[in-house]
């Protein structure tokens, strides 16, 4: 099947767009994605797919006016036509007084380990074997569902200022929910740039163990509890902080929970959060979608908010430099951190449980959403493994809770931070590398029947 396109061909294809006459500037964002996903339910493969697509997104600047057009016609003709459409748009819209210009040429670090040929070329047979190995971890009466995806991405950015950057990368992810017996669910997931780092048996064992431990969940009254959140649950808090708070545009416009809080304590001193697409342990590309090199940005250090992330437009407004966090144009939401890390602490999960007199152990959250943006309050459900902790031990599984909780308040009440981190997904957002957290007070406002 088709493989990488490579930077040389991309340069050739985008050239007709960059040479568009009668404009002040042109930027072409190139994306090529290919890969397969093997989806399973009831311990059998029920949906299995493969796809390949190539996209060109052209931004044209004319007299401070911006037009954007996109196509998946990956040819010189396709690039030229998209550029002409973008020019037509730019000729009739109002100017953007805050337009900062296109990104100047700047070197971008290469991530040699980001692309793995074997991952890009993973066969459906390989994925099916892995799913079979995972399913084999289910005890009688239990069944597994989930997805095993192997994909490759090439991203390139070329503009008329002379910037050209290109990054291939791969990603393998395996996620599962195992359920059965008397109503217990278990969950596990793993991500890596290399498919050979995915251990399906380990993923299956972990989820199967949770499902066994979760049998016969009991009712527990909603209320405020000490909680131990596993990394998958913490990733929801991190993801929503990114969505509601860390973007420079939201901060500037007073819509963020971090507006006017630079230099202030917003979390316990044990909490530090940063974004770094170039660090090991995440799946990132080393430049943003306007061609600015990405770099580490410290967001919260020892509980103190240091600042947000910026693209070129919001950086100009803020009088700062871009941190390399632009999303593809046009982007009304502004910049966004895609590769969050929460610094680990020194506690094991067992130590967090042992230090809890009475509390709730949460595996992950489900379908969370905003309640109050400026207060960083969200609501959502627990899912796939929720347990009562008493006297330092996990006592029994409980039915799922609805939580309604301010994230910053939870982080302020953090008592312990896990020493191990995991790259964990969130329903709506990109994955964050985070530890488990023990939080003194966390509010459950309702419960479900399972």
């Amino acid at each position: 099947m088709p493989g990488p396109i490579g930077p040389d061909e991309v340069r050739g294809v985008v050239r007709p767009a960059l040479e568009l006459p009668g404009v002040d500037g042109v930027e072409v964002l190139f994306m090529h994605e290919w890969g397969g996903l093997t989806r399973f339910a009831d311990s059998a493969i029920h949906q299995s797919t493969w796809s390949e697509d190539t996209g060109l997104r052209v931004r044209v600047v004319k007299g401070g006016r911006i037009g954007v057009a996109a196509t998946n016609d990956f040819s010189g003709d396709g690039a030229r036509k998209a550029a002409e459409t973008a020019r037509e748009i730019a000729e009739v819209v109002a100017p953007d007084p805050e337009f900062p210009g296109l990104a100047p040429p700047a070197p971008v670090a290469e991530r040699a380990d980001a692309y793995d040929e074997a991952t890009a070329a993973t066969s459906p047979e390989h994925r099916a074997e892995a799913v079979a190995a995972l399913v084999a971890q289910c005890s009688d009466g239990f069944r597994a569902s989930g997805a095993f995806e192997t994909m490759a991405v090439e991203v390139g950015l070329a503009n008329s200022e002379g910037q050209f950057c290109f990054a291939p990368s791969t990603q393998a992810s395996l996620t599962t929910v195992i359920n059965g017996g008397e109503g217990g669910n278990g969950f596990a997931e793993v991500f890596d740039a290399r498919v050979d780092q995915i251990d399906p048996e380990a993923v299956g064992r972990r989820a199967a163990g949770k499902a066994r431990d979760g049998q016969n969940p009991r009712d527990l009254d909603p209320g405020t509890y000490r909680v131990v959140l596993e990394p998958s649950a913490v990733s929801t808090l991190a993801g929503f902080l990114a969505y509601m708070g860390f973007g420079g545009r939201m901060i500037l416009e007073g819509r963020s929970c971090f507006t006017a809080k630079e230099g202030q304590s917003v979390a316990a001193p044990s909490i530090s959060i940063y974004d770094d697409a170039t660090a090991p342990g995440t799946l990132g590309i080393p430049f943003d979608f306007e061609g600015v090199p990405r770099r580490r940005v410290d967001l919260i250090v020892d509980g103190v908010f240091r600042g947000g992330v910026y693209d070129m437009r919001t950086a100009k407004q803020a009088g700062k430099g871009s941190t390399g966090h632009a999303l593809p144009p046009p982007n009304p939401e502004g910049p966004f951190p895609l590769n969050l890390f929460m610094e680990p602490g020194d506690a094991t999960l067992e130590e967090m449980i042992a230090a809890t007199d009475r509390g709730v152990l949460v595996t992950r959250f489900h379908y969370s959403n905003i309640v109050h943006q400026v207060e960083s309050t969200i609501t959502g459900m627990t899912r796939d493994g929720t347990f009562l902790i008493e006297d330092g031990e996990v006592k029994y599984p409980v039915k799922n809770f609805r939580f309604t909780q301010s994230i910053l308040e939870a982080l302020q009440n953090t008592a312990m931070v896990g020493r191990d981190t995991e790259l964990a997904s969130e329903f709506f957002f990109s994955a964050s590398r985070v530890p488990a957290l023990a939080i003194e007070r966390f509010t459950f406002t309702g419960r479900s029947d399972h």
Partner: protein, 479 residues
Amino acid sequence: MLEVAKQAVEAAKRGGADYADARVVTAETESLTVRNQEMEGVDRSTSEGIGIRVLVNGYWGFAATARLEDADIARTAEQAVAIAKAASRLPREPVELSAVEPAVATWHGPMQEDPFTVSIEEKVALLMEASRRMQLVKGVAFAESSLDFWRDRVRFASSEGAAIDQTTVHSGGGIEATTVGEGELQRRSFPNSFRGHVAAAGWEHIARLGLLEEAERTATEAVELLQAKECPSEVTKLVIDSGQVELQIHESIGHAVELDRVLGMEESYAGSSFVRPDDRGKLRYASDLVSIMADATLKGGLGTFAYDHEGVPAQRVPIIVDGLFQDFISSRETAPVIGQTSSGAMRADGWQALPLIRMTNVSIEPREGTLAEIIGDTKDGIFMSTNSSWSIDDHRVNFQFGCEIAWRIKDGRLTEMYRNPNYTGITTEFWGSCDAVGGREDWMLWGTPNCGKGQPSQTARVGHGAAPARFRDVRVGVR
């Protein structure tokens, strides 16, 4: 391009497929956003490609590509077959498809004026004026207006002989005023939140929305919300407008009756459903005032078409009749599992995606009375309008919704305004407490253009006809 789809089907059959279908899709989108009378972005996109789906010995395979040369199509068909063969590594009951008469048809959704031919200047002028009118209201921080247009042409061919060429055009627009205070942010939007009201129609839909006429009121309410009290925490009678009933139906009925969820096929991602196959005709889902239909034949809905993406004709399916659960929305694969034929609900998000069971137009049947009459008939309660947030558990049981604005109802009149209102409940208890559903006068066919499902994640545009409704003993003001 229909010939290309047929060519792909033939290639798949030659490769060993027992059944094959293919969709060549050409998708066009246009999106415009203005904020504070400045352009936030104008974006036009086109995407074209083919998705080939095969059954080999009862196992599915699917492969998709944007490359439409003969060799690429043959290679992609082979890949789909290889994927299906690999799926047999884990034995399961072989897929059996419910019967369908292969259709040969061409269909265009109704549209009076093609929105893609309306000039950008005219669109921008409308958005600028709407933004300007909102900005005239003192205290508005952000005055945003937006338009979105989609055109999808789907050519479907199957090894059973179907050959269908369908085109749909969807148009939407909305305005939103935002106010920012000390630790507080309030939004008010019109006609609905999250970029407005989308319908299966052309530019004539935008002209009817009344974005300019409602700009001042929308902005004024956003300003007033900053000074309003928090919605109190209590258990009360709740009246919700048709826009919120829309999302209540979507999350707590529409998704819950998708048969693939019920059968566990979505378990690991968005979850399953509390509804079971043998609940048909038995489960008391709602009060006897509530009847819900899934109707793909409804004029103007985002879930309106002639044939679904399996070539099954559009249908009108009773989901709940007088409170009693009747039926699911289904596919050719899932329907036979419960002894039925497909309800015609399979749609894919573009050529790249495998068709999934998606809501069509899942709507509440109108009863009697206007919104004003329902409020007038309420001695004490809360009225909430316009969705701002949603969350529901993985079995579609426990939900919580936020709305943009609320008022206290006292002796049949709206009195004090509240900000940050929300409510929570349990699906069947909540619908069982419904004691009023509005009539045709305030019934509205809304669009939900951002319905997520599946892995890889797909977004569908679905429709919901909704009337204002009232519910007893609802917990509001959750904090």
